[in-house]
Symmetry: C2
Amino acid sequence: MHLTQEQLDHYHDNGYLLIESLLDPREVTALREAFARDCTVPGPHLVTEDAGEEVRAVYASHHRQPEYAGLIRDPRVLGPVRQLLTDDVYVYQFKINAKPAFGGDKWAWHQDYLAWRIADALPAPRQVNIGVFLDDVTEFNGPVIFLPGSHQGGMVRDGRKSGARSEQHLDPDDIALTPGQLAEHVDRYGMSSPKGPAGSVVFFSPEIVHGSAPNMSPFARRLLIATYNDVTNLPSWSGEPRPEYVVCRDSEPLRPLSEPFLDALEGVTA
Amino acid sequence: MHLTQEQLDHYHDNGYLLIESLLDPREVTALREAFARDCTVPGPHLVTEDAGEEVRAVYASHHRQPEYAGLIRDPRVLGPVRQLLTDDVYVYQFKINAKPAFGGDKWAWHQDYLAWRIADALPAPRQVNIGVFLDDVTEFNGPVIFLPGSHQGGMVRDGRKSGARSEQHLDPDDIALTPGQLAEHVDRYGMSSPKGPAGSVVFFSPEIVHGSAPNMSPFARRLLIATYNDVTNLPSWSGEPRPEYVVCRDSEPLRPLSEPFLDALEGVTA
């Protein structure tokens, strides 16, 4: 799949691009089943509620589940990413967030690349994120909110807040815009939150200012976020590197599958 | 002003009715100025931030500010209320909430009438609420969310949670729907949040299940909520009554002004 010039312009002007229903319901079902299966694999990649067994996030499912290994190479996903970034890309980070009913972290307004520069010394903002809706995303269940165009001004903050607690753990507040910075940016850029049925995919810039509303609905909302990075733009660490389930080490350039991931998978297993 | 049959049907079917831009910008400006003026009047009716001087809510401004005394009798507001409820109504409760930037209470999903039955022994749900937008209401700044039609099933909860802390103070959680109750109701009724420019007014039932999203924007959002009650449906207290700024005692039936509140006010002061 190739993005049109209009779609490319939308991404470059606004810092994001939504493609509704890029995946069909059968594929969404398969991805949900693979997520459920992955939630039964114990390990540090599995983040659960403080006090319970409910899964909040899972990292690096593409290392364990063939559906996700296929999805990141699906031509409908990897094709546009290569158009937007460069031919040789790999998956730097992969996670699925299950934003719980009636809540979920209000992840403070931030730019992704600042976190990665601080944590992993990533040299440049040469990434494209994809957000894959595993549930319908509505105004009520904690959609991501973007400030369209805010990716064009570089990093709003230079570094993290002084007194930050750890080099390893990034507290959202450490990299969040101040209230004054955000007010200025919202005045200038406005706010927009792409919504759509399960199977929709939003491509977004590592430099766009965004936040996430709480989930007011009584149902959890699952969202996959994968970050593709330019293979010439690798992380490095002066101290202890972040774990591999958070920062994937395999930077071999990904080549698109010749068909949609589920067809490819069924071809393999048939 | 008279509601059409279609508007009446919408209210009775859904439990709410939004009229966009019912007030004009000049009137909105006058109401904002009156609010700012009222915020300088000290007293228990003024609710401020825990640690600061920022005003969170003001009660009973219609007792102090002529603009609000006029607004509650404005024919565009009182006319529809009388159509929806009955000819003889008075204002039982009046407050203006300033939902702060980046936050604001997530007032748990609830039905207003349950609170009033518990706190004031209000005999029946013979009320109509009005919500007057003093700022534009968007999906981002903490709109009220309704479950359309949920007013038709009576009170979901019978009473407050056992172990409630006080008869006087109503903790939202004491009257909130349980997660299971809410899931069932959202499945059945869906969610809807009326949005519109400043000056819009939403009329809503005391029995409709509703909640309120946090304000994700960097700007405070001011919303006036007044509750009209049938004059034959008065509160009573076995113990200490709630203060008069919370529960207004003057139950003299309100008669509509002959013209919009600002014209009437300017006529008086000219």
